[in-house]
Symmetry: C2
Subunit: 384 residues, 2 copies
């Protein structure tokens, strides 16, 4: 039974001890987590992809170099250093000492890069999970690029929280300092395309099923329904990476989550619940929803940034980040009018099978501007 | 750090207790094995792909129904039943009782399929690793479709051996009974294409490296060599799935492994060593090597098949199986002449990181028909 597909793993991150008062799921087995998540980050081509994201790079570069006061003579912890880029910038910006923690063998490359750039006296690369390693001191700054699709995929912020609670001085600053999640109604040809793909898959199943019956004497019809469910999940219910054009956003983007990186807890990101309203901006077709995030580098109230920097992954004419946006499609697009109100409910939680993947329950009630109810629907999606 | 790639896992199989007198590697953690391997098999679309392979299906169907004497009134164990197809055929061919073992939740679908086809009194679906489950009796037949790319990728035969040693009666029969691995010199545009891809990746790296230096003040050159090694491994050293045309086979196919499924041990498949000679059949270019396998259903000497059946994955004009062939490319193709002799050395062993993946050391000495040495080379490949 030859197969070329690569199991069910995704790219991901370190198991975090789940803090907070609610009962925690059992800690993730580290080897399983590695097989499921970390391993992609040990490849240079993957680091290169992220280093090639100019929007991402510019934001962090400017955040550091426009705010040297946070770095000069200070101590820094880079959580998930990868190639070491943020640690290197922190040192170049004047840090006295930088601890660059990386769970995978990419740490070896980070160490080489640090040395090749003459910074080995400042940057110490430590291979390990940030939850497991020990530092000789607390730090003034925690810098990390931890954001996944729709902000929270990969659940890497758990590790940043863990690092912050153990290693950040009471006066310390988080880079980035804040994060937000956005959701907007969109039009997109993806809905039709995925619906067609699904129909095609089911037509193909019908032919297949007939052939197995004719040639091999086995009735497969009992598996038609489970196959349809599996394909529905794959084609319709799995969030799609997309680079949306702003013209596809057909109503007000809504803020579904705001997070202060200095105070956020795992509890508040384990389950994200939000009720928001979006107003349609024209006569068009509602095909689904787009989700994205932004982060800000504002420092802290007592020690603010001199230059606020924002990294946004919102739909843009000119910019595309490697995060794209996540599209949640509707198999049955709905005609909408300017002024229609969408009452949106979102509940995002972690997949039981893999805490680094998300389940998203989206509900939508459409009302005319007059208040007359139009349509409503509810669907569960998966960010895989 | 968003990433869509799916970790480093592959499709795969149950951890086998590694038998034999040599020291064994530590048993594979089951959850890691699931994350790395098994999980793909729990999807119906993947089972459908295999069930849609007519060559595979016809071979097993004919093997069973042309040899009912092995099944009528007998007991059968299907190792890795998947959708249950082989178990169902065994029952339809007259088996008294069939134990269908499946490690993943596909077992639920197998059970439904058995019932929908009226065979629940004969076929008992058991979810679990065949190494772990218990049967109430030994069986007359072990049937299994365990073959991976180049026969041994996935290392599933370990589980068949384990099942055979525990559950096959002394008089029992293996389906299939024999297996062979073949290697042949080939011509292929893949070599040039992959070489171009590699060159392109390195040119892209150079641009990238220049940009990181100009825009971000970091010298990446120390990572050029590791990046090149990683890309060489990816583009050149990773065996490529291909559907070879017989005209691409430019020399005698050589038999690198023969296996009797009734007596094979894990030791003999953990490392496959072979020295063979192939003779070039015309004036052409040696671009690499193609590997494939075949299996036979011959029964056993004391209880042979009435109709020998063969399932071959050799290059064919008319047939293509989902296994294809595995191509080991040469970055520097060599001109060869009719009558040139290729002395080939092959050593195939399991990857230390994942016992279900293979490392292949290929060496080749080319001599003219006259005996004059021409060229030789040696390369390590990876079957991922």
């Amino acid at each position: 039974m030859g197969s070329s597909s690569n199991g069910g793993a995704m790219s991901g991150r370190a198991p975090g001890t789940v803090g907070g008062v609610k009962s925690s799921p059992p800690p993730v087995d580290k080897e399983v987590d590695y097989a499921n998540y970390f391993c992609t980050y040990s490849f240079l081509y993957h680091q290169k992809d992220m280093l090639s994201d100019r929007v991402r790079m510019d934001a962090y570069y400017n955040a550091v170099f426009e705010n040297k006061h946070h770095f000069v003579g200070k101590t820094v912890l880079d959580v998930g250093t990868g190639s070491g880029i943020l640690a290197i910038w922190s040192a170049q910006a004047g840090a006295r000492k930088v601890y660059a923690v990386e769970a995978t063998t990419m740490a070896d490359h980070a160490r080489a890069l640090v040395k090749a750039n003459g910074l080995e006296d400042i940057v110490e690369v430590i291979q390990g999970s940030v939850e497991d390693i020990s530092l000789p001191e607390k730090v003034d700054v925690i810098i990390s690029e931890w954001m996944g699709y729709f902000l929270l995929r990969e659940s890497m912020f758990d590790s940043v929280i863990s690092a912050r609670d153990r290693w950040l001085k009471p006066t310390g600053v988080m880079y980035p300092s804040h994060a937000r999640m956005w959701l907007a109604p969109i039009k997109s040809t993806l809905s039709d395309r995925k619906k067609n793909d699904l129909d095609g898959a089911m037509a193909d199943w019908d032919n297949f099923s007939d052939e197995i019956k004719s040639y091999y004497g086995v009735d497969m019809s009992v598996l038609t329904k489970p196959f349809a469910q599996e394909q529905e999940k794959h084609y319709i219910q799995t969030a799609v990476w997309n680079d949306l054009n702003p013209l596809q956003v057909i109503g007000t983007p809504t803020l579904v989550k705001e997070m202060d990186c200095l105070t956020a807890t795992v509890s508040e990101i384990e389950e994200v619940r939000s009720n928001v309203t979006s107003v349609i901006n024209g006569h068009t077709t509602l095909c689904g929803f787009g989700g994205w995030f932004d982060v800000q580098f504002r420092g802290r109230k007592e020690d603010p940034a001199q230059q606020d920097i924002e990294l946004t992954t919102a739909p843009s004419e000119r910019h595309c980040t490697h995060w794209g946006q996540q599209v949640f499609i509707m198999s049955n697009p709905i005609n909408v009018e300017e002024g229609d109100n969408l009452n949106l409910g979102l509940v995002m939680s972690r997949s039981k099978e893999n805490h680094r993947l998300m389940e998203v329950e989206l509900s939508c009630e459409i009302k005319e501007a007059s208040g007359n109810p139009k349509e409503s629907f509810k669907k569960t999606y998966f960010i895989e």
